[in-house]
């Protein structure tokens, strides 16, 4: 049994806004982006999840009947109460007896969904069963909050298998501890906030990610030198690189996975969108260390190893393809589409 990723699919919304539009409107763009993705007014984390999953299932429709588990993740599901996975079951035509799990409340939710699916598959003896994971996000903040400037949108889906994966999941490690004042959204609110104490929250981010990563390296008997790529969930422009340096990863291992400057902060989808981007370019035997972080706070590290199968399982559309397919909005139009002024 070799647990890992069988295939993956990505979806980025068609709409973009450039940092310049924020400069024109507010005098400056508070986020280190050149542009970012914008969900259209009729898109949300459910529609984007469907789009990413269809990238997998349109290519391999026969895979649908083997899916025994569906895990969904987002910090911005349109319903706070009402199952979200069932919308996907109907939209994708999945078996109606599958187990589901739903993950939310922090940007670590995407990787949590992947781990839940992994643990589920491990317990299954039946041959050929797979698990589908969809992660989509479109976090929102108030228009006058500088936190809003970096918030983007996107979705990614993975099919996990126990036979002949394109990337083996080698191990995972977690670091979690109560932490206040970071990004949060209370029940009943649509906008995320933080208390603007960046220096202090950066420390928590760096510390928890470091612990999760180092525990995993120790467990696997590895060092940063054994890895070809370091992927870190990108909720701002600078911290992933700072973390990489602190962990002892060279710049060239971090850069290939960075998407923040062109799509912004894609919340729970960020780390896994970057994983898809790396899988688009990775070669057999390469190793990937992935870190997802969620406020409140937790960090999860996952180690993956690419296999020779990858050559035969390339997606129909790469992340680079979606990055090129776009239409720009001006700031007024952006406010309307994001329902800030309508």
């Amino acid at each position: 049994m070799t647990m890992g990723i069988q295939s993956y699919g990505v979806y980025l919304p068609y709409l973009r806004i450039k940092a310049d539009e924020y400069v024109k409107a507010w005098g400056a763009c508070a986020a280190g982006i050149s542009e970012k993705t914008v969900p259209d007014f009729d898109e949300d984390s459910i529609t984007m999840s469907v789009a990413a999953a269809r990238e997998i299932l349109d290519l391999t429709p026969q895979a649908t009947k083997n899916i025994a588990f569906l895990a969904v993740a987002s910090t911005s599901f349109p319903y706070v109460e009402k199952a979200t996975s069932t919308t996907l079951i109907q939209a994708l035509g999945l078996n109606d007896n599958i187990f589901t799990s739903e993950h939310t409340t922090s940007t670590a939710a995407g990787l949590e969904a992947l781990l839940a699916a992994w643990r589920y598959l491990e317990t299954q003896k039946e041959f050929g069963k797979t698990a589908l994971i969809t992660v989509a996000d479109a976090p929102q903040a108030r228009a006058w909050d500088t936190l809003e400037h970096g918030l983007g949108a996107g979705a990614v889906a993975f099919l996990l298998t126990k036979e002949n994966p394109i990337a083996v999941m080698e191990g995972a490690s977690s670091a979690a501890q109560e932490s206040l004042g970071e990004r949060y959204r209370r029940t009943g609110e649509t906008a995320v906030h933080d208390l603007g104490v960046r220096e202090y929250t950066s420390e928590t981010f760096l510390e928890l990610c470091r612990r999760a990563a180092q525990n995993l390296l120790k467990e696997l008997g590895r060092s940063p030198g054994d890895y070809h790529y370091l992927i870190v969930g990108q909720h701002d422009a600078r911290l992933p690189q700072t973390l990489g340096r602190k962990l002892g990863f060279e710049e060239e291992k971090i850069k290939p996975g960075l998407l923040y400057s062109s799509i912004g902060d894609t919340g729970a989808a960020s780390a896994l969108l970057s994983l898809a981007h790396i899988l688009d370019q990775a070669r057999p035997e390469e190793k990937i260390l992935l870190l997802a972080y969620g406020s409140g706070a937790k960090a999860i590290a996952l180690s993956l190893k690419v296999t020779a199968e990858i050559a035969d399982h390339r997606p129909t559309h790469t992340v680079n393809y979606w990055l090129e397919r776009k239409k720009y909005l001006d700031y007024t139009r952006y406010l309307k589409v994001r329902r800030q002024i309508v």
């Binding site: 259209d40 007014f41 109907q90 939209a91 035509g93 790469t318 589409v337």
Partner: protein, 144 residues
Amino acid sequence: MGAHISVPMYQRSLPQRYRLVGLKCQKCGKINFPPKGTCKYCRASTEFIEVPLSGKGYVYTYTIIAGGGAPPEFTDQALIQGSYPVAIIQLEEGPRIMAQLVEVEREEIKIGLPVEAVFRRIYEEEGVIRYGYKFRPVVPPCKP
């Protein structure tokens, strides 16, 4: 479009709205979409099998709905977009259906434009999000 559809009615039509499930007539072989009790082609059969349609087709004809002409459940959309395109789509399996077009510039819309179905929010009523299909220009695969 434009007529009130109750939640129970919407619920019954979810397979067709979420993933374009049509009914294939066991007598004449034609695909009924939206599904009907009696085949609308041969008018002689009520025996069907369910078939999910591919969602591929082309623009058969289209119109632009001006903001003021939008039905009440699309008031939000009219405010955001001003006006929006609606088309009759000729599906590759035969049926013609009405749907909104997305991700397309006005000057790009023409009869014969190849399109594919996408899953979007259609509108909200009674606090319930009504999801369904719209169509976008075909997104071709990456070159290898």
